[in-house]
């Protein structure tokens, strides 16, 4: 069983490569007469073990700057809130915004709250969304749905006042009484409408409201804007209502999403927006990937040129390191941005450093006349102190920059955090490869000059 020690590493390596394969890569070529045509996909796990479902797709998630999309920042108007309620209100708003964005079908949105001194902000990243105005409209709606009736019961208001100004009394029926809103089409005109299905309590309330307003208009207001004011024909007890405004299908859909996700407890206003075209991202990423690959090849050539056989081992360790880190990015998953890629590149540099440190120490021990075996053991031992201290310092810095507790006095912005996260993963992986993998590879492949080992 001479080769048995190779089996496990080879299997592990194959799985690792599988996790890191490119997505949807079409391979088509011809070897003499047999045609090869298939699509490469990375590993995708979908297991059902003893009732536990494990589902994992190893795919790269790209950030806004690489994929294109919109970045919006809203500021909340908290002037009307009590200080102790503010935090809850902001968090609730965040959840509602996330719900709206999800209902609208944006993939992988990132919604975060930011607190800057006394102002509260909510940032929304929408990868793939290029039409900002639509997104702003959807998110920014506070969606306070209210049913209003005519203010004074005796109808003394001058009859020439426009109808909507007469509807000043809140009936007590609002958005919270709605169980579900959906888009329907008027069977007669084919126009889109929003149908409301009330909760049990809401249905009852709607019954009493319509009963006392037979022959009179009841207004439906959204954020104090009238949408429609139909005249009640009879008492409605089924617990359903229809809002028919002059909607387009899109508008009706937005309105139903807003009502379904609930009202925002605070009014918000747009303070920042960035719209990044995907083509910009695509060329940037392509150029940088090519440049990175060329840089990496140069590094590997340098290592092999300078350290010979040990350099070949370092090159192997580095490739494994690169694959490991990339698999981690996909497994967590980390949303990759340009600064994130930069953090990764920096950590590659530090991984190379670990290898160089180890080799220099081994050489040093060999110069002292130690045999190779002992030199490797001592060299590793000596180098590990420096590697450990240097990497722990970097990890400390990355940790503070990442701001895991989301403290308001530290950066809460995606860019610095993305950088810190990939740097931390990269450094942790480099500690692992430097200590475990390089050592293993030396055991497996290195043969001391002169054949003795």
């Amino acid at each position: 069983m001479k080769y048995s020690k190779y089996i496990l590493p080879v299997v592990a390596f194959v799985v690792l490569v599988w996790m890191c394969l490119p997505e949807n890569m079409h391979v088509k070529f011809q070897v003499q007469k047999s045609k090869v045509d298939f699509t490469i996909q990375p590993l995708s796990i979908n297991l059902n073990l003893f009732g536990w479902t494990i589902k994992k797709d190893f795919r790269t998630k790209l950030g806004l700057d690489l994929k294109g999309g919109s970045h919006l920042v809203f500021e909340a108007d908290i002037s009307r809130l009590k200080a102790e309620d503010t935090n809850d209100a902001i968090l609730a708003s965040r959840d509602i915004i996330e719900k709206r964005v999800n209902l609208f079908g944006v993939s992988e949105p990132v919604v975060q709250t930011l607190r800057l001194g006394k102002t509260y902000r909510i940032s929304v990243d929408l990868p793939g969304v290029e039409d900002v105005s639509q997104a702003v409209g959807l998110i920014g709606q506070t969606a306070q749905l209210r049913f209003m009736e005519i203010g004074s019961a005796d109808g003394k208001i001058a009859t020439n006042t426009p109808l909507i100004y007469q509807l000043t009394k809140y009936t007590g029926l609002g958005g919270t009484d709605v169980k579900k809103a959906s888009v329907v089409f008027d069977p007669q005109t084919g126009k889109p409408q929003v149908s409301l299905q009330f909760t049990a309590k809401g249905g009852e309330l709607f019954g009493t409201v319509t009963e006392r307003n037979v022959g009179k208009p009841v207004g439906i207001f959204l954020d104090s804007f009238p949408i429609s004011a139909p005249v009640v024909q009879q008492k409605i007890t089924e617990g359903n209502a229809v809002i028919s405004g002059n909607f387009t299908t899109e508008e009706a859909k937005q309105l139903s999403v807003s009502i379904n996700s609930g009202a925002l407890p605070v009014p918000i206003k747009l303070v920042e927006q960035r719209n990044i075209g995907p083509s910009l991202g695509a060329t940037e990423i392509q150029k940088s990937v090519v440049a990175g690959a060329i840089g990496l090849v140069m590094v590997l050539l340098f290592m092999v040129g300078y350290y010979g056989q040990l350099g070949v081992i370092a090159a192997m360790a580095l490739i494994i390191y690169g694959l490991l880190s990339f698999a981690m990015f996909r497994a967590i998953p980390v949303v990759l941005t340009l600064p994130g890629v930069a953090g990764f590149i920096l950590s590659i540099g530090m991984a190379v450093d670990s290898n160089i440190l180890i080799f220099e120490r081994i050489k040093e021990e060999q110069r002292k006349g130690k045999s190779f075996d002992i030199a490797v053991r001592l060299g590793f031992g000596r180098a590990i102190d420096a590697i450990k201290d240097a990497n722990i310092t970097t990890l400390t810095v990355a940790f503070i920059l990442f701001n895991p507790m989301n403290w308001e006095f530290l950066p809460q912005f995606g860019m610095v955090r993305g950088f810190a996260l990939t740097l931390a993963i990269g450094v942790a992986m480099s500690l692992f490869t430097g200590v475990v993998i390089t050592r293993r590879l030396i055991d497996l492949f290195y043969h001391a000059p002169g054949g003795k080992k």
């Binding site: 940037e284 990423i285 440049a291 990175g292 930069a342 440190l357 220099e360 950088f419």
Partner: protein
């Protein structure tokens, strides 16, 4: 063994020259601030078919947009201005479309309020001060002494000054802008600087352990001689990587990578030639007192 410490005066002179010219540049030229810091709008259009520069410029001027720079290229336009809202943007776009009878599409449309920039800077500053304290604490513990940590931090401040000084020069002559990417690069440089210093200090710590705290001058020279090859090799590999990215990478990250390059060079340089002499000086002072 090479007596590296003999030339401490030369290292100080080089560092002083670089840092001084940087500071002079910061004082006289300052920085070009990106919209991350001052607030405003970046707007980039691609226009097809191609229009003449004059025609495009006339339309933009006609819209009374308060722009600070306007670049009209073969494929479109790029302008920076005071904050623009969506209506203004839409108006400009429709007007360009109508009058040039061309297809105009948005490549980039960013509007940032200026407050964000100052907030980012303040928070990042607090974060780096905290990180410095963290480094001080960890190194004092790992090296069982305050002098190592202190020397490493001073070298880090040296690198910080070199990087911001050179960036001001880049800013003046090549149009580099101070943005959040730059802040990231500075933070990277600072952590790299300490990382690099620790490797040399580790060697000195080892000599302390085996040979006792004898002649610190001699031990430091010995450590420098032993680690010089690894320092050079290591920096070389990082420089290869960054050089490839600077020359061939995308334009948005060019100055970012360039800053990292400067940071790597000064980070490597400061470990043997700034941090080590400071450590030797501190240790000698401790002995005398």
């Amino acid at each position: 063994m090479i007596n590296f410490l003999k030339y401490t005066w030369l290292y100080s002179l080089i560092s002083a020259l670089v840092i001084l010219s940087g500071i002079v540049s910061i004082v006289t030229f300052g920085f070009r601030y990106s919209i991350d810091f001052v607030g405003g709008t970046n707007l980039e259009y691609s226009i097809s078919p191609v229009a003449t520069k004059d025609a495009v410029k006339k339309i933009v001027d006609g819209e009374k947009i308060n722009y600070s720079s306007l670049e009209i290229t073969k494929t479109g336009l790029f302008l920076k201005s005071k904050p623009m809202d969506e209506q203004q943007e839409l108006r400009l776009r429709t007007r360009l479309q109508r009058q040039l009878s061309a297809k105009v599409s948005i490549q980039r449309f960013e509007t940032v309020g200026p407050v964000l920039g100052r907030e980012t800077l303040q928070k990042t500053l607090i974060a780096s001060l905290l990180a410095t304290l963290g480094i001080l604490a960890y190194m004092s513990f790992a090296f069982k002494g305050f002098n190592f940590a202190f020397a490493a931090i001073l070298a880090m401040i040296h690198d910080f000054l070199v990087v911001i000084g050179t960036y001001s020069i880049f800013s003046r002559f090549f149009g580099a802008e101070l943005d959040t990417m730059f802040v990231t690069a500075v933070l990277t440089t600072m952590s790299f600087s300490v990382h690099d210093t620790i490797v040399i200090f580790d060697k000195i710590r080892e000599y302390f352990k085996y040979e006792g705290k004898g002649d610190i001058h001699h031990l430091a020279n010995k450590a420098l001689t032993e680690t010089m090859v690894r320092s050079l090799n290591n920096s070389m590999t990082i420089i290869f990587m960054l050089l490839a990215l600077t020359l061939m990478g995308g334009a948005t990250i060019r100055f970012f990578v360039l800053t990292l390059l400067v940071g790597t060079v000064t980070g490597t340089y400061s470990s043997p030639f700034i941090a080590t002499p400071i450590l030797v000086w501190l240790e000698q002072r401790k002995k005398k007192s």
